[in-house]
Symmetry: none
Subunit: 182 residues, 4 copies
DNA sequence: TATGAATGAGTCTTCATTCAT
DNA sequence: AATGAATGAAGACTCATTCAT
């Protein structure tokens, strides 16, 4: 069944996010199977990482589908995106780390799709006059990734309360740190 | 002289920032020496990484000293900090990755010092009424790290113009993405 | 089963006795396994040598148990000890070499136990009036080790007939080289 | 001058006797020179060991010349040999260890000369009726080496008083451990 | 001549992967 | 299908040796 494989990917994602250099042995132990079995499920480390990427990207895609960034007020859409992807921060961190750790040239196609959807959201906000235009949409997209990931890490390190992570991320991204002039 | 060691650390930092999983062989080649010589300078990979941490932290410290975050208008101070640490984004990325890699308990003391200085800056801004208080200083500190690093990566990937990285980072952190209501 | 590990230790003992400086590669080849497998059984060279020490000491202990040096006429007891430990001369040589190699402080406890039993035998012989008292028991113990080892080496080098090694060792230790005055 | 080289060989002999696997670095440090200088004196480790062998053998030769094993009562001759070679026990141990440690086939010619002189002494003693004939001369020679070396080690380990080493060695070799029947 | 620095060669150890059960 | 055992390949580390000063 696919369930076993998904569970395995899940524990692997959690582990690799914390320890990007984890060995197959550690991955297998975290999944509760033997190394040989791990190799039966996924032929080699690369295949496993590739599959994990697929899973993470598809989860992100699904999450985006659910919050419909293409619709409604851009500001609200950004909030929905942050709230919707926040549970996937682990996967996101994994994707970023993995992409950063190894040759930066190799960009997974699925990643570009997500990139595009978010970038489009920010562009839409700029065109509708809601968002500043001196911050490029591409930059805002990268910032979104970075802030979601950083928030998740901060929560994990006990530096930020779990409940505040999402709202603070949204507030910072949208409104910045400065107190609004009334 | 100490110059040799510093040059070695420099090239290593550059390499490890791009390829955190680089082998000793790659590090040695990047430094233009043999593996054996590399081992002469730093006994083992751990010692090398440790030394690199020291260097990165000391550079950050020096950079902070230069921009004096403790003085003047908090908003300007944040801009100075971003401008001052932006050239060290590579080191910062290295430190973050490295800190993420190891168990969260093992936190280098020097890191905490930098953390504290930045956190104090945001706290000062909040107390002076310049910064919002619904975003905790700790969160803003983490966000600062994340944005500087993300901006540097985005520049490296060609997604953001090198010249815009610093101002956009500062603008986002301070003012957010929303267009100011006049 | 434990048999595999014992067989491995056996071949290792034989090799290390002949070539104390043998590399892990040679040890693995002598055991008929790959280096990696050797490392699976014993983590590192130290662990292997340590285990070999254990084995050698336990074999010696067993051999001593079998010949009961504490019982009967001391002279006969010495003969039994020599006859009983002669097949373990290789192990004995290994132990001596190994003990000589390391700093004298680090003395394995098991070794002291064997030392004590033999020393006690000589002391008993002196107290019963059978052995000379101008040769200390400690010296006789060391001499026993040295002679057994030397005899084994001499046999290996073809200088002494295998059958004569044990009796000659016993005769020399007990009676010396001088012809008895009648 | 030759003095420097001899002093170097002396400290090397002492070290190698205790630590047959000592590195060139240790040897150099023990001699108080740099590794490079050590290499200037002796081209390579082999050359050094070879030279050490030469020195040890020549010292042994000289010592034997001085005590004239070919002359006088064989029993007295053996005592003189033991007394005369006892200061060279370190060298002797080095020679034995070295010969044992590496391929046993390669027997230095000078060693055979010494072997022959000692073997001849025991043979002479047997022919003159002083020594037992059931202990072969070759065996007695090996036993002599072993006992001298063991005695030196025992002294070094504090198990035997330095003053007793020589007489006990001689007594055991000649008279054995048994109390003489009157 | 003496030495700090550099290195090629070799050993130890680990890892991802395969095999036999 | 699952796994303990085995291993080839690769990385880390050390050592004897050479080089430049």
């Amino acid at each position: 069944m696919t369930t076993d494989r998904e569970a395995l990917l899940g524990s692997t994602a959690e582990l690799l996010t914390r320890r990007p250099a984890a060995s197959m042995d550690e991955i297998a132990k975290a999944a509760g199977v033997s190394r040989a079995t791990l190799h039966r499920y996924y032929a080699g480390r690369d295949a496993l990482v590739r599959a994990l990427e697929e899973l993470a990207l598809s989860r992100l895609d699904t999450a985006l589908d659910a919050v419909r960034p293409e619709e409604g007020d851009p500001q609200d859409a950004v909030r929905r995106v942050i709230a919707g992807t926040e549970p996937l921060a682990g996967f996101l961190a994994f994707l970023i780390t993995e992409n950063q750790l190894f040759e930066p040239g190799r960009q997974h196609e699925g990643w570009r799709r997500i990139d595009d959807r978010l970038c489009a959201l920010f562009t839409r906000g700029q065109e509708s006059g809601h968002f500043r235009v001196d911050l490029t949409a591409a930059f805002l997209t990268e910032a979104l990734y970075a802030l979601i990931t950083a928030a998740a890490w901060a929560v994990q390190d006990g530096k930020v309360a779990a409940r505040s992570a999402t709202p603070m991320t949204a507030e910072l991204l949208l409104g910045g740190a400065l107190r609004r002039a009334r």
